[in-house]
Amino acid sequence: MEQASNHKIFASVITNPQSHDEERARVLTHLTMVFGGVAGVGNTLFIVLALVGIMPPQAVGAAAGVIAMVAVIVGGTLGALRLSTATVASNIFLYGSLIYVIGMIYLGGGVTGPAGIAFLFPVVVAGLFGRAAESPRLFGVALLAYLLLAVAETVGVVQPQNDVPGLPRTVAFVIFFASVGGLLTYVASLWSTSTTRFLEQTRAQSEELYETNQRLIEKNIQQVELGSELSAAATELLRASHEQASGASEQASAVSQVSTTIEELGSTARQIAIAAEQVAEAARQTLENLSEGQEAVDKSIQAMDRIRSRMQDVSARVLNLGERSQQIGEIIDLINDLSDETHLLALNAAIEAAGAGEHGRRFAVVAAEVKSLANRALVAAKEVKGVIAEIQQATNAAVLAAEEGGKEVAAGVELAHSAGQVMDVIVMAAERTAQSSAEINLATAQQQSASEQVVETMREIADVARRTAAGARQVQDAAQRLTAIANRLHGLSQDGAGRAA
Protein backbone atom coordinates (compact mmCIF):
# COMPACT_ATOMS: atom_id res chain seq x y z
CA MET A 1 0.00 0.00 0.00
CA GLU A 2 2.77 2.38 0.94
CA GLN A 3 4.66 1.41 -2.17
CA ALA A 4 1.60 2.06 -4.23
CA SER A 5 1.32 5.39 -2.53
CA ASN A 6 4.97 6.09 -3.24
CA HIS A 7 4.55 5.05 -6.82
CA LYS A 8 1.55 7.32 -7.11
CA ILE A 9 3.52 10.21 -5.67
CA PHE A 10 6.49 9.41 -7.85
CA ALA A 11 4.24 9.20 -10.86
CA SER A 12 2.79 12.53 -9.89
CA VAL A 13 6.24 13.96 -9.55
CA ILE A 14 7.21 12.60 -12.91
CA THR A 15 4.04 13.45 -14.80
CA ASN A 16 3.59 16.84 -13.28
CA PRO A 17 6.54 19.13 -13.78
CA GLN A 18 4.80 21.60 -11.53
CA SER A 19 4.53 19.06 -8.66
CA HIS A 20 5.05 20.34 -5.21
CA ASP A 21 8.45 20.22 -3.43
CA GLU A 22 6.82 18.36 -0.56
CA GLU A 23 5.96 15.48 -2.88
CA ARG A 24 9.51 15.53 -4.27
CA ALA A 25 10.78 15.51 -0.72
CA ARG A 26 8.70 12.48 0.08
CA VAL A 27 9.96 10.57 -2.97
CA LEU A 28 13.53 11.62 -2.27
CA THR A 29 13.13 10.51 1.35
CA HIS A 30 11.98 7.05 0.31
CA LEU A 31 14.68 6.76 -2.31
CA THR A 32 17.32 7.88 0.19
CA MET A 33 16.04 5.35 2.71
CA VAL A 34 16.13 2.56 0.09
CA PHE A 35 19.58 3.70 -0.96
CA GLY A 36 20.78 3.73 2.66
CA GLY A 37 19.21 0.32 3.30
CA VAL A 38 20.73 -1.34 0.21
CA ALA A 39 24.14 0.24 0.87
CA GLY A 40 24.00 -0.70 4.49
CA VAL A 41 23.01 -4.28 3.75
CA GLY A 42 25.68 -4.65 1.06
CA ASN A 43 28.49 -3.27 3.21
CA THR A 44 27.31 -5.23 6.21
CA LEU A 45 27.48 -8.29 4.02
CA PHE A 46 31.03 -7.25 3.14
CA ILE A 47 31.89 -7.10 6.85
CA VAL A 48 30.30 -10.45 7.55
CA LEU A 49 32.16 -12.09 4.67
CA ALA A 50 35.38 -10.55 5.83
CA LEU A 51 34.82 -11.88 9.34
CA VAL A 52 34.17 -15.38 8.03
CA GLY A 53 37.32 -15.13 5.93
CA ILE A 54 35.83 -15.06 2.55
CA MET A 55 36.76 -11.48 1.99
CA PRO A 56 40.07 -10.02 3.03
CA PRO A 57 40.10 -8.58 6.56
CA GLN A 58 40.79 -5.02 5.44
CA ALA A 59 37.38 -5.05 3.82
CA VAL A 60 35.85 -4.65 7.26
CA GLY A 61 37.32 -1.17 7.69
CA ALA A 62 36.44 -0.11 4.16
CA ALA A 63 32.90 -1.35 4.51
CA ALA A 64 32.55 0.39 7.79
CA GLY A 65 33.86 3.57 6.19
CA VAL A 66 31.40 3.20 3.35
CA ILE A 67 28.59 2.64 5.83
CA ALA A 68 29.62 5.81 7.57
CA MET A 69 29.68 7.64 4.23
CA VAL A 70 26.24 6.31 3.40
CA ALA A 71 25.04 7.38 6.79
CA VAL A 72 26.44 10.86 6.11
CA ILE A 73 24.74 11.02 2.71
CA VAL A 74 21.45 9.77 4.06
CA GLY A 75 21.62 12.09 7.06
CA GLY A 76 22.69 15.05 4.95
CA THR A 77 19.88 14.43 2.47
CA LEU A 78 17.22 13.99 5.13
CA GLY A 79 18.57 16.98 7.04
CA ALA A 80 18.50 19.09 3.90
CA LEU A 81 14.97 17.92 3.25
CA ARG A 82 13.98 19.00 6.71
CA LEU A 83 15.98 22.23 6.79
CA SER A 84 16.17 23.29 3.16
CA THR A 85 14.44 22.68 -0.19
CA ALA A 86 14.02 19.45 -2.12
CA THR A 87 16.38 20.71 -4.84
CA VAL A 88 19.25 21.13 -2.38
CA ALA A 89 18.47 17.76 -0.84
CA SER A 90 18.38 16.07 -4.24
CA ASN A 91 21.74 17.65 -5.14
CA ILE A 92 23.19 16.41 -1.87
CA PHE A 93 21.76 12.95 -2.55
CA LEU A 94 22.88 12.77 -6.19
CA TYR A 95 26.38 14.13 -5.73
CA GLY A 96 26.72 12.29 -2.41
CA SER A 97 25.77 9.02 -4.12
CA LEU A 98 28.31 9.90 -6.84
CA ILE A 99 31.00 10.29 -4.17
CA TYR A 100 29.75 7.04 -2.64
CA VAL A 101 30.16 5.34 -6.00
CA ILE A 102 33.72 6.71 -6.29
CA GLY A 103 34.44 5.39 -2.85
CA MET A 104 32.90 2.03 -3.73
CA ILE A 105 35.13 1.83 -6.83
CA TYR A 106 38.15 2.66 -4.77
CA LEU A 107 37.27 0.10 -2.11
CA GLY A 108 35.91 -2.44 -4.58
CA GLY A 109 39.00 -3.15 -6.64
CA GLY A 110 39.47 0.05 -8.71
CA VAL A 111 38.24 1.08 -12.09
CA THR A 112 38.62 -2.37 -13.46
CA GLY A 113 36.56 -3.74 -10.59
CA PRO A 114 32.82 -4.48 -10.52
CA ALA A 115 31.89 -1.18 -8.79
CA GLY A 116 32.20 0.81 -12.03
CA ILE A 117 28.61 0.09 -12.97
CA ALA A 118 27.52 1.93 -9.82
CA PHE A 119 28.03 5.19 -11.71
CA LEU A 120 24.80 4.48 -13.55
CA PHE A 121 22.73 4.81 -10.40
CA PRO A 122 22.97 8.61 -9.82
CA VAL A 123 22.85 9.26 -13.56
CA VAL A 124 19.67 7.24 -13.94
CA VAL A 125 18.14 8.70 -10.78
CA ALA A 126 18.92 12.22 -11.99
CA GLY A 127 17.24 11.44 -15.30
CA LEU A 128 14.26 9.84 -13.62
CA PHE A 129 13.77 12.89 -11.44
CA GLY A 130 12.95 14.81 -14.53
CA ARG A 131 15.97 17.05 -14.40
CA ALA A 132 17.14 16.84 -17.95
CA ALA A 133 20.33 18.89 -17.48
CA GLU A 134 21.29 17.18 -14.25
CA SER A 135 21.73 13.72 -15.70
CA PRO A 136 24.37 14.69 -18.36
CA ARG A 137 26.09 16.87 -15.85
CA LEU A 138 26.23 13.99 -13.38
CA PHE A 139 27.36 11.66 -16.12
CA GLY A 140 30.10 14.10 -17.05
CA VAL A 141 31.18 14.42 -13.46
CA ALA A 142 31.10 10.62 -13.02
CA LEU A 143 33.07 10.11 -16.20
CA LEU A 144 35.57 12.69 -15.17
CA ALA A 145 35.94 11.06 -11.74
CA TYR A 146 36.26 7.64 -13.34
CA LEU A 147 39.00 8.90 -15.70
CA LEU A 148 40.83 10.65 -12.93
CA LEU A 149 40.61 7.56 -10.82
CA ALA A 150 41.83 5.45 -13.74
CA VAL A 151 44.74 7.81 -14.38
CA ALA A 152 45.57 7.81 -10.73
CA GLU A 153 45.64 4.03 -10.62
CA THR A 154 47.66 3.90 -13.81
CA VAL A 155 50.36 6.23 -12.57
CA GLY A 156 50.26 4.57 -9.18
CA VAL A 157 49.02 7.43 -7.12
CA VAL A 158 46.12 5.36 -5.88
CA GLN A 159 46.15 1.65 -5.18
CA PRO A 160 42.76 -0.02 -5.40
CA GLN A 161 41.68 -1.82 -2.25
CA ASN A 162 40.31 -5.30 -1.93
CA ASP A 163 41.29 -6.23 -5.41
CA VAL A 164 41.74 -9.88 -4.53
CA PRO A 165 41.43 -12.20 -7.46
CA GLY A 166 39.39 -15.25 -7.13
CA LEU A 167 36.41 -15.74 -4.86
CA PRO A 168 36.54 -12.41 -3.06
CA ARG A 169 36.53 -10.62 -6.30
CA THR A 170 33.59 -12.59 -7.54
CA VAL A 171 31.69 -12.18 -4.29
CA ALA A 172 32.30 -8.45 -4.31
CA PHE A 173 31.20 -8.29 -7.90
CA VAL A 174 28.00 -10.15 -7.03
CA ILE A 175 27.32 -7.92 -4.08
CA PHE A 176 27.94 -4.79 -6.12
CA PHE A 177 25.81 -6.15 -8.93
CA ALA A 178 23.04 -7.05 -6.56
CA SER A 179 23.15 -3.74 -4.78
CA VAL A 180 23.32 -1.59 -7.89
CA GLY A 181 20.98 -3.86 -9.74
CA GLY A 182 18.51 -3.79 -6.86
CA LEU A 183 18.62 -0.02 -6.71
CA LEU A 184 18.26 0.30 -10.45
CA THR A 185 15.48 -2.28 -10.40
CA TYR A 186 13.73 -0.31 -7.74
CA VAL A 187 14.13 2.84 -9.76
CA ALA A 188 13.05 1.07 -12.93
CA SER A 189 10.09 -0.36 -11.13
CA LEU A 190 9.20 3.08 -10.00
CA TRP A 191 9.62 4.34 -13.54
CA SER A 192 7.54 1.57 -15.03
CA THR A 193 4.82 1.98 -12.49
CA SER A 194 4.94 5.71 -12.91
CA THR A 195 4.78 5.41 -16.66
CA THR A 196 1.75 3.15 -16.45
CA ARG A 197 0.25 5.43 -13.94
CA PHE A 198 1.09 8.34 -16.18
CA LEU A 199 -0.63 6.71 -19.10
CA GLU A 200 -3.63 5.85 -16.97
CA GLN A 201 -3.73 9.35 -15.63
CA THR A 202 -3.31 10.69 -19.14
CA ARG A 203 -6.13 8.53 -20.35
CA ALA A 204 -8.25 9.51 -17.37
CA GLN A 205 -7.37 13.12 -17.91
CA SER A 206 -8.16 12.75 -21.60
CA GLU A 207 -11.48 11.21 -20.75
CA GLU A 208 -12.06 13.86 -18.14
CA LEU A 209 -10.98 16.46 -20.65
CA TYR A 210 -13.35 14.95 -23.17
CA GLU A 211 -16.19 14.98 -20.71
CA THR A 212 -15.23 18.46 -19.66
CA ASN A 213 -15.18 19.45 -23.30
CA GLN A 214 -18.58 17.87 -23.80
CA ARG A 215 -19.92 19.72 -20.81
CA LEU A 216 -18.26 22.84 -22.11
CA ILE A 217 -19.97 22.29 -25.46
CA GLU A 218 -23.29 21.83 -23.70
CA LYS A 219 -22.59 24.89 -21.63
CA ASN A 220 -21.59 26.72 -24.78
CA ILE A 221 -24.87 25.70 -26.35
CA GLN A 222 -26.65 26.79 -23.21
CA GLN A 223 -24.61 29.96 -23.29
CA VAL A 224 -25.65 30.47 -26.89
CA GLU A 225 -29.26 30.03 -25.86
CA LEU A 226 -28.76 32.12 -22.77
CA GLY A 227 -26.93 34.67 -24.93
CA SER A 228 -29.93 34.79 -27.23
CA GLU A 229 -32.29 35.06 -24.30
CA LEU A 230 -29.95 37.56 -22.72
CA SER A 231 -29.89 39.54 -25.94
CA ALA A 232 -33.70 39.45 -26.10
CA ALA A 233 -33.92 40.37 -22.44
CA ALA A 234 -31.37 43.12 -22.96
CA THR A 235 -33.38 44.41 -25.92
CA GLU A 236 -36.54 44.28 -23.84
CA LEU A 237 -34.68 45.94 -21.00
CA LEU A 238 -33.41 48.60 -23.39
CA ARG A 239 -36.93 49.21 -24.67
CA ALA A 240 -38.28 49.29 -21.11
CA SER A 241 -35.50 51.62 -20.06
CA HIS A 242 -36.36 53.82 -23.07
CA GLU A 243 -39.98 53.85 -21.98
CA GLN A 244 -38.95 54.38 -18.38
CA ALA A 245 -36.68 57.26 -19.36
CA SER A 246 -39.42 58.72 -21.53
CA GLY A 247 -42.00 58.18 -18.75
CA ALA A 248 -39.64 59.64 -16.21
CA SER A 249 -39.08 62.67 -18.44
CA GLU A 250 -42.84 63.04 -18.95
CA GLN A 251 -43.34 62.55 -15.22
CA ALA A 252 -40.70 65.18 -14.51
CA SER A 253 -42.39 67.51 -17.01
CA ALA A 254 -45.82 66.79 -15.52
CA VAL A 255 -44.47 67.24 -12.02
CA SER A 256 -42.89 70.50 -13.13
CA GLN A 257 -46.21 71.63 -14.61
CA VAL A 258 -48.05 70.54 -11.47
CA SER A 259 -45.45 72.35 -9.36
CA THR A 260 -45.93 75.47 -11.47
CA THR A 261 -49.70 75.15 -11.15
CA ILE A 262 -49.43 74.58 -7.41
CA GLU A 263 -47.11 77.57 -7.12
CA GLU A 264 -49.63 79.65 -9.08
CA LEU A 265 -52.32 78.28 -6.78
CA GLY A 266 -50.22 79.27 -3.80
CA SER A 267 -49.73 82.72 -5.33
CA THR A 268 -53.47 82.95 -5.92
CA ALA A 269 -54.07 81.84 -2.34
CA ARG A 270 -51.72 84.57 -1.16
CA GLN A 271 -53.59 87.11 -3.31
CA ILE A 272 -56.87 85.80 -1.92
CA ALA A 273 -55.47 86.09 1.59
CA ILE A 274 -54.43 89.68 0.84
CA ALA A 275 -57.85 90.40 -0.67
CA ALA A 276 -59.54 88.73 2.32
CA GLU A 277 -57.42 90.84 4.64
CA GLN A 278 -58.45 93.92 2.69
CA VAL A 279 -62.07 92.79 2.85
CA ALA A 280 -61.72 92.23 6.59
CA GLU A 281 -60.17 95.68 6.96
CA ALA A 282 -62.97 97.15 4.83
CA ALA A 283 -65.50 95.23 6.94
CA ARG A 284 -63.93 96.62 10.13
CA GLN A 285 -64.00 100.12 8.69
CA THR A 286 -67.56 99.50 7.57
CA LEU A 287 -68.45 98.38 11.08
CA GLU A 288 -66.87 101.52 12.50
CA ASN A 289 -68.64 103.67 9.95
CA LEU A 290 -71.84 101.75 10.52
CA SER A 291 -71.61 102.29 14.24
CA GLU A 292 -71.13 106.00 13.56
CA GLY A 293 -73.93 105.86 11.00
CA GLN A 294 -76.11 104.03 13.49
CA GLU A 295 -75.47 106.73 16.03
CA ALA A 296 -76.29 109.31 13.34
CA VAL A 297 -79.48 107.42 12.50
CA ASP A 298 -80.42 107.29 16.17
CA LYS A 299 -79.75 110.98 16.46
CA SER A 300 -81.72 111.64 13.30
CA ILE A 301 -84.59 109.57 14.70
CA GLN A 302 -84.46 111.57 17.88
CA ALA A 303 -84.25 114.79 15.83
CA MET A 304 -87.16 113.60 13.72
CA ASP A 305 -89.14 112.91 16.85
CA ARG A 306 -88.35 116.37 18.10
CA ILE A 307 -89.24 117.81 14.69
CA ARG A 308 -92.48 115.89 14.71
CA SER A 309 -93.21 117.17 18.16
CA ARG A 310 -92.37 120.69 17.08
CA MET A 311 -94.43 120.26 13.93
CA GLN A 312 -97.35 119.08 15.99
CA ASP A 313 -96.84 122.08 18.23
CA VAL A 314 -96.59 124.38 15.22
CA SER A 315 -99.61 122.73 13.68
CA ALA A 316 -101.55 123.20 16.89
CA ARG A 317 -100.44 126.81 17.08
CA VAL A 318 -101.33 127.36 13.44
CA LEU A 319 -104.70 125.77 14.00
CA ASN A 320 -105.11 127.99 16.99
CA LEU A 321 -104.09 130.90 14.84
CA GLY A 322 -106.60 129.80 12.24
CA GLU A 323 -109.28 129.64 14.89
CA ARG A 324 -108.29 133.06 16.10
CA SER A 325 -108.32 134.29 12.52
CA GLN A 326 -111.75 132.81 12.20
CA GLN A 327 -112.77 134.65 15.30
CA ILE A 328 -111.22 137.81 13.85
CA GLY A 329 -113.14 137.15 10.67
CA GLU A 330 -116.31 136.83 12.65
CA ILE A 331 -115.49 140.06 14.42
CA ILE A 332 -114.77 141.63 11.09
CA ASP A 333 -118.08 140.33 9.84
CA LEU A 334 -119.68 141.91 12.81
CA ILE A 335 -117.84 145.14 12.12
CA ASN A 336 -118.86 144.79 8.52
CA ASP A 337 -122.45 144.32 9.57
CA LEU A 338 -122.20 147.27 11.86
CA SER A 339 -120.66 149.35 9.13
CA ASP A 340 -123.29 148.18 6.73
CA GLU A 341 -125.94 149.02 9.24
CA THR A 342 -124.28 152.32 9.84
CA HIS A 343 -124.13 152.84 6.12
CA LEU A 344 -127.79 152.10 5.77
CA LEU A 345 -128.55 154.27 8.77
CA ALA A 346 -126.61 157.06 7.18
CA LEU A 347 -128.48 156.53 3.96
CA ASN A 348 -131.76 156.50 5.80
CA ALA A 349 -130.65 159.59 7.68
CA ALA A 350 -129.78 161.24 4.44
CA ILE A 351 -133.12 160.23 3.05
CA GLU A 352 -134.85 161.62 6.08
CA ALA A 353 -132.75 164.74 5.96
CA ALA A 354 -133.67 165.22 2.35
CA GLY A 355 -137.28 164.84 3.33
CA ALA A 356 -136.85 167.50 6.00
CA GLY A 357 -135.96 170.06 3.44
CA GLU A 358 -133.87 172.98 4.42
CA HIS A 359 -133.99 172.02 8.05
CA GLY A 360 -132.45 168.74 7.45
CA ARG A 361 -129.54 170.00 5.44
CA ARG A 362 -127.06 169.97 8.39
CA PHE A 363 -128.35 166.64 9.41
CA ALA A 364 -127.81 165.46 5.87
CA VAL A 365 -124.22 166.63 6.13
CA VAL A 366 -123.74 164.65 9.33
CA ALA A 367 -125.43 161.69 7.71
CA ALA A 368 -123.11 161.99 4.77
CA GLU A 369 -120.17 162.04 7.12
CA VAL A 370 -121.50 159.04 8.97
CA LYS A 371 -122.09 157.28 5.67
CA SER A 372 -118.56 158.15 4.63
CA LEU A 373 -117.20 156.75 7.87
CA ALA A 374 -119.33 153.70 7.46
CA ASN A 375 -118.08 153.28 3.93
CA ARG A 376 -114.51 153.68 5.13
CA ALA A 377 -115.20 151.22 7.86
CA LEU A 378 -116.66 148.88 5.28
CA VAL A 379 -113.65 149.33 3.05
CA ALA A 380 -111.33 148.80 6.00
CA ALA A 381 -113.41 145.85 7.10
CA LYS A 382 -113.20 144.45 3.60
CA GLU A 383 -109.48 144.95 3.56
CA VAL A 384 -109.15 143.38 6.97
CA LYS A 385 -111.38 140.60 5.86
CA GLY A 386 -109.23 140.17 2.79
CA VAL A 387 -106.17 140.06 5.00
CA ILE A 388 -107.95 137.73 7.35
CA ALA A 389 -108.92 135.61 4.39
CA GLU A 390 -105.31 135.58 3.27
CA ILE A 391 -104.28 134.79 6.80
CA GLN A 392 -106.84 132.04 6.97
CA GLN A 393 -105.69 130.80 3.58
CA ALA A 394 -102.10 130.97 4.69
CA THR A 395 -103.08 129.39 7.94
CA ASN A 396 -104.90 126.63 6.18
CA ALA A 397 -101.92 126.19 3.91
CA ALA A 398 -99.70 126.23 6.97
CA VAL A 399 -101.95 123.71 8.64
CA LEU A 400 -101.91 121.58 5.55
CA ALA A 401 -98.17 122.06 5.28
CA ALA A 402 -97.82 121.25 8.95
CA GLU A 403 -99.93 118.17 8.45
CA GLU A 404 -97.92 117.25 5.38
CA GLY A 405 -94.73 118.02 7.30
CA GLY A 406 -95.98 115.88 10.14
CA LYS A 407 -96.70 113.11 7.70
CA GLU A 408 -93.31 113.64 6.09
CA VAL A 409 -91.69 113.70 9.50
CA ALA A 410 -93.55 110.53 10.41
CA ALA A 411 -92.47 109.00 7.13
CA GLY A 412 -88.94 110.26 7.85
CA VAL A 413 -89.09 108.71 11.30
CA GLU A 414 -90.33 105.53 9.74
CA LEU A 415 -87.58 105.70 7.15
CA ALA A 416 -85.07 106.45 9.89
CA HIS A 417 -86.31 103.42 11.80
CA SER A 418 -86.12 101.41 8.60
CA ALA A 419 -82.65 102.84 8.02
CA GLY A 420 -81.74 101.82 11.55
CA GLN A 421 -83.04 98.32 10.90
CA VAL A 422 -81.18 98.25 7.59
CA MET A 423 -78.11 99.48 9.44
CA ASP A 424 -78.58 96.64 11.91
CA VAL A 425 -78.84 94.21 9.03
CA ILE A 426 -75.78 95.81 7.41
CA VAL A 427 -73.92 95.58 10.71
CA MET A 428 -74.81 91.91 10.96
CA ALA A 429 -73.77 91.43 7.33
CA ALA A 430 -70.54 93.32 7.95
CA GLU A 431 -69.86 91.23 11.04
CA ARG A 432 -70.57 88.09 9.05
CA THR A 433 -68.36 89.49 6.28
CA ALA A 434 -65.57 90.16 8.75
CA GLN A 435 -66.02 86.68 10.21
CA SER A 436 -66.14 85.16 6.74
CA SER A 437 -63.05 87.17 5.78
CA ALA A 438 -61.26 85.86 8.84
CA GLU A 439 -62.33 82.33 7.95
CA ILE A 440 -61.26 82.91 4.34
CA ASN A 441 -57.96 84.28 5.60
CA LEU A 442 -57.46 81.22 7.79
CA ALA A 443 -58.52 78.89 4.98
CA THR A 444 -56.26 80.61 2.48
CA ALA A 445 -53.41 80.49 4.96
CA GLN A 446 -53.98 76.77 5.38
CA GLN A 447 -54.29 76.47 1.61
CA GLN A 448 -51.07 78.40 1.18
CA SER A 449 -49.29 76.15 3.68
CA ALA A 450 -50.73 73.08 1.98
CA SER A 451 -49.66 74.45 -1.40
CA GLU A 452 -46.16 75.03 -0.13
CA GLN A 453 -46.09 71.50 1.24
CA VAL A 454 -47.43 70.19 -2.06
CA VAL A 455 -44.84 72.24 -3.94
CA GLU A 456 -42.11 70.85 -1.70
CA THR A 457 -43.47 67.35 -2.22
CA MET A 458 -43.70 67.91 -5.95
CA ARG A 459 -40.11 69.13 -5.93
CA GLU A 460 -39.10 65.97 -4.16
CA ILE A 461 -41.15 63.98 -6.68
CA ALA A 462 -39.50 65.92 -9.50
CA ASP A 463 -36.12 65.18 -7.96
CA VAL A 464 -37.08 61.50 -7.72
CA ALA A 465 -38.33 61.64 -11.31
CA ARG A 466 -35.06 63.20 -12.44
CA ARG A 467 -33.16 60.58 -10.54
CA THR A 468 -35.44 57.94 -12.06
CA ALA A 469 -34.74 59.39 -15.51
CA ALA A 470 -31.02 59.35 -14.79
CA GLY A 471 -31.35 55.79 -13.49
CA ALA A 472 -33.32 54.88 -16.59
CA ARG A 473 -30.56 56.32 -18.75
CA GLN A 474 -28.04 54.35 -16.74
CA VAL A 475 -30.22 51.25 -17.17
CA GLN A 476 -30.39 52.08 -20.85
CA ASP A 477 -26.62 52.28 -21.06
CA ALA A 478 -26.34 49.08 -19.05
CA ALA A 479 -28.87 47.43 -21.34
CA GLN A 480 -26.89 48.53 -24.37
CA ARG A 481 -23.73 47.19 -22.81
CA LEU A 482 -25.59 44.03 -21.88
CA THR A 483 -26.79 43.72 -25.47
CA ALA A 484 -23.24 44.11 -26.71
CA ILE A 485 -22.04 41.55 -24.17
CA ALA A 486 -24.85 39.20 -25.17
CA ASN A 487 -23.94 39.60 -28.83
CA ARG A 488 -20.29 38.97 -28.06
CA LEU A 489 -21.22 36.01 -25.88
CA HIS A 490 -23.45 34.73 -28.63
CA GLY A 491 -20.60 34.95 -31.15
CA LEU A 492 -18.08 33.41 -28.76
CA SER A 493 -20.44 30.58 -27.89
CA GLN A 494 -21.09 29.82 -31.52
CA ASP A 495 -17.36 29.82 -32.26
CA GLY A 496 -16.64 27.65 -29.23
CA ALA A 497 -19.43 25.27 -30.11
CA GLY A 498 -18.15 25.07 -33.67
CA ARG A 499 -14.62 24.38 -32.54
CA ALA A 500 -15.82 21.85 -29.99
CA ALA A 501 -17.87 20.12 -32.62
Binding site: N336, D337, D340, E341, L344, L347, N348, A350, I351, A354
Partner: protein, 138 residues
Protein backbone atom coordinates in the same frame (compact mmCIF):
# COMPACT_ATOMS: atom_id res chain seq x y z
CA UNK B 1 -132.44 162.28 -5.45
CA UNK B 2 -131.45 158.74 -6.65
CA UNK B 3 -130.13 155.63 -4.96
CA UNK B 4 -127.65 153.40 -6.73
CA UNK B 5 -128.40 149.75 -6.09
CA UNK B 6 -126.30 146.80 -7.11
CA UNK B 7 -127.39 143.28 -7.80
CA UNK B 8 -125.17 140.30 -8.66
CA UNK B 9 -124.67 141.43 -12.23
CA UNK B 10 -126.15 144.89 -12.71
CA UNK B 11 -126.46 148.38 -11.28
CA UNK B 12 -129.69 150.28 -11.18
CA UNK B 13 -130.89 153.59 -9.92
CA UNK B 14 -134.15 154.19 -8.11
CA UNK B 15 -135.86 157.31 -6.90
CA UNK B 16 -135.37 158.00 -3.23
CA UNK B 17 -139.03 158.98 -2.94
CA UNK B 18 -140.08 155.40 -3.87
CA UNK B 19 -138.16 153.88 -0.94
CA UNK B 20 -139.41 154.30 2.57
CA UNK B 21 -136.34 153.06 4.31
CA UNK B 22 -133.35 150.79 3.91
CA UNK B 23 -132.62 147.72 6.00
CA UNK B 24 -130.01 145.13 6.30
CA UNK B 25 -131.44 141.62 6.15
CA UNK B 26 -129.61 138.36 6.41
CA UNK B 27 -130.66 135.75 3.89
CA UNK B 28 -133.40 133.72 5.62
CA UNK B 29 -133.47 136.15 8.56
CA UNK B 30 -136.38 136.61 11.00
CA UNK B 31 -137.25 140.12 9.91
CA UNK B 32 -138.24 139.07 6.40
CA UNK B 33 -141.38 137.12 7.26
CA UNK B 34 -145.05 137.74 7.34
CA UNK B 35 -144.98 138.10 11.15
CA UNK B 36 -143.47 141.59 11.00
CA UNK B 37 -145.74 144.57 11.59
CA UNK B 38 -146.63 145.51 9.04
CA UNK B 39 -145.91 142.32 7.19
CA UNK B 40 -142.98 142.44 4.84
CA UNK B 41 -142.94 140.58 1.56
CA UNK B 42 -139.34 140.10 0.38
CA UNK B 43 -138.30 139.43 -3.17
CA UNK B 44 -134.92 139.37 -4.89
CA UNK B 45 -134.82 142.27 -7.31
CA UNK B 46 -132.16 140.87 -9.67
CA UNK B 47 -134.06 137.77 -10.90
CA UNK B 48 -137.24 139.82 -11.34
CA UNK B 49 -135.54 141.81 -14.07
CA UNK B 50 -132.93 139.33 -15.30
CA UNK B 51 -133.50 135.64 -14.46
CA UNK B 52 -129.74 135.05 -14.58
CA UNK B 53 -129.01 137.78 -12.08
CA UNK B 54 -128.92 135.55 -9.02
CA UNK B 55 -126.83 136.65 -6.05
CA UNK B 56 -125.11 134.44 -3.48
CA UNK B 57 -124.31 137.17 -0.98
CA UNK B 58 -125.70 136.31 2.43
CA UNK B 59 -126.11 139.80 3.74
CA UNK B 60 -128.87 141.56 1.82
CA UNK B 61 -129.94 145.17 1.62
CA UNK B 62 -133.61 145.60 1.49
CA UNK B 63 -135.38 148.48 -0.18
CA UNK B 64 -138.57 148.83 1.87
CA UNK B 65 -141.49 150.03 -0.26
CA UNK B 66 -144.68 150.58 1.65
CA UNK B 67 -147.87 149.56 -0.18
CA UNK B 68 -151.07 150.12 1.81
CA UNK B 69 -150.77 147.70 4.80
CA UNK B 70 -147.83 145.78 3.57
CA UNK B 71 -144.16 146.56 2.98
CA UNK B 72 -142.41 145.09 0.01
CA UNK B 73 -138.70 144.44 0.54
CA UNK B 74 -136.76 144.26 -2.66
CA UNK B 75 -133.47 142.61 -1.86
CA UNK B 76 -130.24 143.71 -3.50
CA UNK B 77 -126.55 143.21 -2.78
CA UNK B 78 -125.88 146.80 -1.79
CA UNK B 79 -127.19 150.33 -1.83
CA UNK B 80 -124.33 152.64 -2.22
CA UNK B 81 -124.72 156.21 -3.03
CA UNK B 82 -127.26 158.89 -3.22
CA UNK B 83 -126.99 160.81 -6.44
CA UNK B 84 -128.46 164.25 -6.36
CA UNK B 85 -129.45 166.42 -9.31
CA UNK B 86 -128.80 163.64 -11.72
CA UNK B 87 -129.86 164.11 -15.31
CA UNK B 88 -131.88 160.99 -15.86
CA UNK B 89 -132.98 160.55 -19.39
CA UNK B 90 -136.51 159.11 -19.73
CA UNK B 91 -136.95 156.08 -21.93
CA UNK B 92 -138.17 156.81 -25.40
CA UNK B 93 -141.82 156.19 -26.00
CA UNK B 94 -141.15 153.56 -28.56
CA UNK B 95 -139.04 151.56 -26.15
CA UNK B 96 -141.34 152.11 -23.18
CA UNK B 97 -144.37 150.79 -25.15
CA UNK B 98 -142.56 147.57 -25.96
CA UNK B 99 -141.50 146.68 -22.37
CA UNK B 100 -143.14 143.60 -20.90
CA UNK B 101 -143.37 145.29 -17.52
CA UNK B 102 -143.24 149.08 -17.22
CA UNK B 103 -140.53 148.97 -14.60
CA UNK B 104 -137.78 151.01 -16.36
CA UNK B 105 -138.38 154.73 -16.46
CA UNK B 106 -135.05 156.29 -17.57
CA UNK B 107 -131.34 155.93 -18.11
CA UNK B 108 -128.48 157.69 -16.34
CA UNK B 109 -124.83 157.69 -17.44
CA UNK B 110 -122.57 156.94 -14.50
CA UNK B 111 -118.90 156.81 -15.28
CA UNK B 112 -119.90 156.74 -18.95
CA UNK B 113 -121.91 153.62 -18.36
CA UNK B 114 -125.70 153.66 -18.88
CA UNK B 115 -127.59 152.71 -15.71
CA UNK B 116 -131.35 152.00 -15.93
CA UNK B 117 -133.67 153.76 -13.52
CA UNK B 118 -136.26 151.43 -12.02
CA UNK B 119 -139.75 152.16 -10.78
CA UNK B 120 -139.48 150.12 -7.60
CA UNK B 121 -143.04 150.98 -6.56
CA UNK B 122 -144.34 149.38 -9.75
CA UNK B 123 -142.08 146.41 -9.11
CA UNK B 124 -143.37 146.21 -5.54
CA UNK B 125 -146.93 146.25 -6.75
CA UNK B 126 -146.20 143.46 -9.22
CA UNK B 127 -144.60 141.42 -6.45
CA UNK B 128 -147.52 141.99 -4.17
CA UNK B 129 -149.94 141.05 -6.92
CA UNK B 130 -148.07 137.84 -7.68
CA UNK B 131 -147.97 136.87 -4.04
CA UNK B 132 -151.60 137.57 -3.61
CA UNK B 133 -152.44 135.46 -6.61
CA UNK B 134 -150.21 132.71 -5.44
CA UNK B 135 -151.77 132.67 -1.98
CA UNK B 136 -155.20 132.74 -3.54
CA UNK B 137 -154.29 129.75 -5.71
CA UNK B 138 -153.20 127.81 -2.59
Amino acid sequence: MLLIIRTAQHRYIVRREDVATLRAIARGGDNSGEEADPPVIAAELGPLIDPDDVSTVQRRHALIIPLRRRNIALLVDAVDTIVEHADVQPLPQLLRERLHEPWATGVLLIDDQPVVQLDVRAIARSVLLQRTRASEQK
